[in-house]
Amino acid sequence: MTAAFVFYLYCSLKNRIRTRVQRLRQPRYLISLVAGLLYLYLVFFRQFLSRDGMRVLRNPSARAEPDLLPLMETGIALLLFGIVLLPWIFPRRNPGISFTEAEIQFLFPAPITRRALLHFRLVKSQLAILFGVLISFLIFGRGRSFSHPFYFLVDLWMVYSFLAFYRMGTALVQTSLAEHGATGIRRHLWVLVLVAGAVFSVFVWLRWFVPSLPPRKGLTPESIVAWISELARSGPAFYILLPFRALVRPALAPEPVSFLLSLIPALLLVLLCYAWVLRSDVSFEEASLERAERMARRIEAAGKGGPLLFAAARVRRPPFDLAPGGPAFLAIFWKNLIGAGRFGFGRVLSVVLIAATGVLFSLVSVSAPNREMLAVVVGSAAVGIASFLVVFGPVVQRDDLRVDLQYVDLIKTYPLPGWAVVLGEILTPALILTGQQCGLVLVALSVLPPVDEYLSSLYQRAMYALGAFILIPCLSLIGVLIQNAAALLVPGWVALGKAQPQGIEAMGQRMITMIASLVVLLFAVIPGAAVFGFAFLTGYWLLGPAMVPLAALPAAGGLLLEAAVIVAWLGRLFEKFDASLELRETD
């Protein structure tokens, strides 16, 4: 039986690689591969292949920076603890063990024991884990963080295997609880007690054991490191983090003997998780079948250039009632808003709300000096994320033509002019991005402490907020329009639908389109920025902070004019869009 499994895995891998290589006959994939490899070389390999990198590999001790090791151990252990708790806080309906449709068809009716099936699936998951290990090694293995790259590589494999097995085990327990109710609770009592104990310990830790933040004046990196170390060893945190520290330690071991010794507890934890999955007597077959069918429908639809099918979402009320009469583009906006809400936006919103509640709670509950420090951190983070969203938000938020070009057969039959289709399509991502950015600006302006004469009064803050609220919608519109223009002009270069293709060439393709759209965005906002700058500088001496919204008005007008011209142009492009030619090679 093992030989058959190995044959299947070997052939699948071989053919997958062959398909990818064959795809390189198309110039766009070849160019993308070159771009992806160049990126990998410049960012990751160059350092390894440089003279200094080779010296470090030959002389591992040159890499270690011992001062940072305890901080790294604590940080990664905290991260792992968070990852382990996450599935219990946000449980998902997931069979845990998933098989493809073909595997179900051939393996489930075959004379194979349930345990052999589980073994097969666990071994198969190792392929993905090994690839993940390689990528993570390239990303995080740079610099002088670890004593030896081999220790890091081995430890990465153990951590990823532990997490993969843990995820499967958790999903199986949750499936059992959902299916068996009280019997399920009795059967998995020890797991539930462990989870409840961990959650309770976190509560106790946060309530009574978190040490005071170092004073803001005289704050040094050393004092922050010391505070984090103290934080991770205070009260129950020490015991909670112990197993996760054990998982991290092999990577940080200074020499071979301590590496081998630290390997034992880490390996035990991985084996424990493996045994947990194997011993679980939860039925995974039915849930696997359902999941496999859903996946097959998605793949089939995507293969035909048709719409991607998503997991059935919960039906909620539409965001607003669509009146039967009125501008038709609002119907497309309404449809996309529903799509965004039913497939992720609602979830993102709930996470944001939870985070905001947490921040507010922290601001209210911590002592005064800690509060100011926390306010600086939160405010700066909000500004940073808002700026990030201006540039990259339109790339991520894609409930527009990038999804709907898959429905182009349908939309082209509607009696709508092209500009109305484009306008209806771009409104949803622009609105979502505007909401997110305005919310973040509001958070930043509410919590940031005054800096010299800036942000010293409520009036000033209100003027800055007003200026931001005038400009943000226009910037969002322009950003989203550029992404939609790319989808219409070069659909082969833009990933259509919500799913993202994988592979080095896909990464290269994304980079090329990303860089091109960033350059276009830069040129698009230059006139608006110039208008704003000129108006602000000429009027500030007279009107002070009130000049921020006043200067934003003509800038916003210019950006809106630009947006209108682009909408009209894209509308004409959409009317001429020939799906049979443009999407023929899209996969």
Partner: protein, 248 residues
């Protein structure tokens, strides 16, 4: 009325449809048949404006698709072989959406009448993922009929339907024809075409090889009997033997 004059569609250098002309009068059902790759779906996609034709003219109820696309599309409805539905809209929301897009008047009455006619009532709050193939097809039909189109195009309308669905689909097509709509049905199911259609157009390699009623076609092919079936005609004019390979 659907009028097609000199329709040509070329993909790169490959001519998918060449110089195709025909006319479907109000109340008439025309069958579009041909072997795989004959250009049937391309023809339908050009008529509906999904893809632009390379040459030629399409008129829907006298409105030229090229010069007056919105007026033409308002009178047109296309039912593709695969039900194309938005994954995240429920049955009722699909109908609301189409109502707004086409500016349907008396929409409540029409929606309820279609929901009843097509037995969609119990599923009105379901997403497409929760619907069977037949129910999805019914929803596509409901969306297609909501704006009372004067020209209807069906591409393989019976694919994946159960016997009840098939009967329903046939009666829907005939009912709309009786109400005065011009209808094109493209299908490989020759008995369906024979049963439903007043006239038949056979395509091969993108070219019209025969067009007319079954009777007219039979008369034009003296080597066939006067009461020859569409299947016999099809194999004769497309140059296939029609022999059962398993009989060898």
């Amino acid at each position: 009325m659907i009028e097609v004059n000199g329709l040509t569609k070329i993909y790169g250098t490959y001519p998918a449809v060449t110089d195709l002309s025909f006319r479907v009068e109000p109340g008439e059902v025309m069958g579009l048949v041909g072997p795989n790759g004959a250009g049937k779906t391309t023809t339908l996609r050009c008529i509906t404006g999904i893809i632009p034709s390379t040459r030629g003219e399409v008129r829907i109820c006298e409105f030229a698709l090229r010069n007056n696309p919105l007026a033409a599309k308002r009178r047109l409805s296309f039912m593709p072989d695969e039900p194309r539905l938005f994954d995240y809209l429920t049955v009722m929301e699909h109908l609301q959406f189409i109502t707004r897009i086409y500016g349907v008047e008396n929409w409540e009455e029409k929606v309820h009448s279609l929901v009843d006619e097509l037995d969609l009532g119990e599923k009105k709050d379901s997403l497409p993922a929760e619907l069977s193939r037949g129910m999805k097809q019914k929803l596509v039909i409901a969306c297609g009929l909501l704006h009372s189109p004067k020209a209807l195009l069906f591409d393989e309308p019976l694919t994946g339907l159960d016997p009840i669905g098939i009967r329903h689909m046939k009666s829907t097509i005939l009912k709309r024809a009786a109400e005065g709509a011009a209808i094109i049905v493209s299908s490989h199911l020759l008995h369906l075409v024979e049963e439903l259609c007043d006239r038949i157009l056979i395509l091969k390699e993108g070219k019209k090889i025969i067009h007319g009623s079954l009777e007219e076609i039979s008369r034009s092919l003296p080597e066939l009997r006067g009461d020859a079936s569409l299947e016999e005609i099809f194999f004769r004019v497309t140059g296939h033997s029609g022999n059962d390979p398993s009989a060898r």
